[in-house]
């Protein structure tokens, strides 16, 4: 592992540590109520007693967005190696990328026509 990766991972560990230490300090310094009526730890629902659970089924439009996202994100992961050396890959490289992105664009047009991206 190179020094840069060591530094980056250490930095990330430090960042998480900062968050954790702040939660810990607030846990040490916090006040506690003398009385604890059961309604205090209910979830907030405009002051009413919450109805049922919040872990429910949800509208599928969000999942469609996630599906389209996966397609594009994978595409991008394949594009980066080319993007670093475009001049080296030359016109042939651009042509290949065109074919690759073109196929994905067909998928995008299909999703658009099918209404997957329409927010119903």
């Amino acid at each position: 592992m190179s020094d840069a990766w060591l530094a980056a991972l250490l930095f990330f560990a430090l960042s998480v540590f900062v968050g954790a230490s702040m939660v810990f300090i607030s846990w040490v310094l916090r006040v506690k109520a003398r009385e604890n009526p059961p309604t205090r730890t209910l979830t907030y629902e405009c002051g009413e007693t919450p109805v049922g659970n919040a872990w429910v089924r949800f509208h599928p439009r969000y999942y469609l967005v996630a599906l389209v996202f996966v397609v594009f994100d994978v595409e991008v992961a394949f594009l980066f190696p080319w993007a670093v050396d475009v001049a080296g890959a030359g016109l042939a490289g651009i042509a290949q990328v065109f074919v690759f992105v073109g196929i994905l664009l067909l998928g995008w047009v299909y999703a658009l026509k099918k209404g997957a991206l329409r927010w119903q």
Partner: protein
């Protein structure tokens, strides 16, 4: 001192601590700045009571948040509920590892710095989702759904937009990118001018990722109470709030480095230029925040999938053709 710095562990620890302390300090006072700025824009004074010009307000806020009672809803998933705020700050702050302030003043000179920052800002949706789902609150759940949909949607134009600078400079390392701009001109005005459009899209996408107005649909306080943080109290809420500011500040710093030549500038030392550019972009972000109204969910999605994504997809071949053409001429 210099011998100590040769040890990679000590060097990494030193720069890590310097960066994190710096970012935390700036974050604290950026909240003061934002409130003052918002106050002035609305013909108010903003904070005035704590210290001169209200300058000690962030410290007072931190003290208040630290001693608040820590409430966790009975029906919440305790472990995830407590983990989410820690991770959100971790991910937001982790981006700072690769932001180059000067050639030497950066925590980790990763040769895939762009991927590191994209990966970490992509991960930002996880703690939001984790915390909101774990709160077992319906407002949080709706907010989380919106936040995730928005976060991952805008990830696509963001990644595609930053590919334009990658093509133009031929590197994934942020410090090499700045070095290239020092030599060949800033990307914001370098031919074929795709950098300018890429910057606008990248800037919009990072606004959307940080859930800032005009893209603050997940937090929409008029409809969703406080969005993902509805059930959070005290410092855990504070951490989410901090993460948003860290994210915004670092986005401005990244834009400054990638598109505006980073530390490149005449007379003054590089660090001054880098900080000046970042601050100008941050002021611009704040200005946008207090000037615009919130978009609707469907408008947001349309803007992303029907305009920003095709636009960035068109930018990439233009840039690529120009790069090949310029290389053929022996120039760039």
């Amino acid at each position: 001192m210099s011998e100590l710095m040769l040890n990679p562990w000590i060097r990494a620890l030193f720069w890590g601590l310097v960066m994190i302390t710096g970012v935390m300090t700036v974050t604290a006072w950026s909240t003061w700045f934002e409130r003052k700025f918002a106050g002035r824009m609305q013909s108010r004074m903003g904070p005035t009571l704590v210290g001169p010009l209200g300058l000690l307000q962030p410290i007072a806020d931190a003290c208040k948040l630290l001693q608040k009672e820590d409430l966790v809803p009975d029906s919440a998933d305790r472990a995830l509920f407590n983990l989410a705020p820690v991770l959100t700050v971790g991910f937001a702050m982790g981006v700072a590892a690769v932001v180059p302030f000067t050639p030497t003043m950066l925590a980790a000179d990763l040769d895939v710095g762009v991927l590191w920052l994209l990966a970490l800002s992509g991960l930002m949706v996880f703690p939001t989702w984790m915390g909101s789902w774990a709160s077992n609150n319906k407002y949080s759940l709706i907010a989380a759904m919106r936040a995730v949909a928005q976060g991952i949607s805008y990830e696509v134009p963001m990644v595609l937009a930053i590919m334009v600078p990658v093509i133009m400079t031929g590197t994934l390392s942020l410090s090499d990118m700045v070095a290239d701009q020092q030599k060949n001109g800033w990307l914001i005005y370098r031919l074929p001018l795709t950098g300018l459009i890429a910057f606008v899209i990248f800037f919009l996408a990072s606004l959307a990722e940080a859930n800032r107005i005009p893209f603050d649909i997940p937090e929409a306080e008029s409809e969703l109470v406080a969005g993902p943080t509805t059930e959070y109290t005290g410092m855990k809420f504070g951490l989410f709030y901090m993460a948003e500011y860290i994210h915004t500040l670092l986005s401005s710093a990244i834009c400054a480095a990638v598109f505006f030549g980073g530390w490149d500038g005449p007379i003054a030392p590089g660090l001054h230029w880098m900080l000046l550019k970042s601050v100008i972009l941050f002021v611009f972000l704040t200005w946008v925040r207090w000037s615009f109204l919130r978009l609707r969910s469907d408008q947001l999605m349309n803007l992303c999938w029907k305009y920003a994504v095709p636009a960035t997809l068109a930018l990439i071949p233009v840039t690529a053709f120009y790069t090949v053409y310029a290389a053929g001429k022996g120039g760039v």
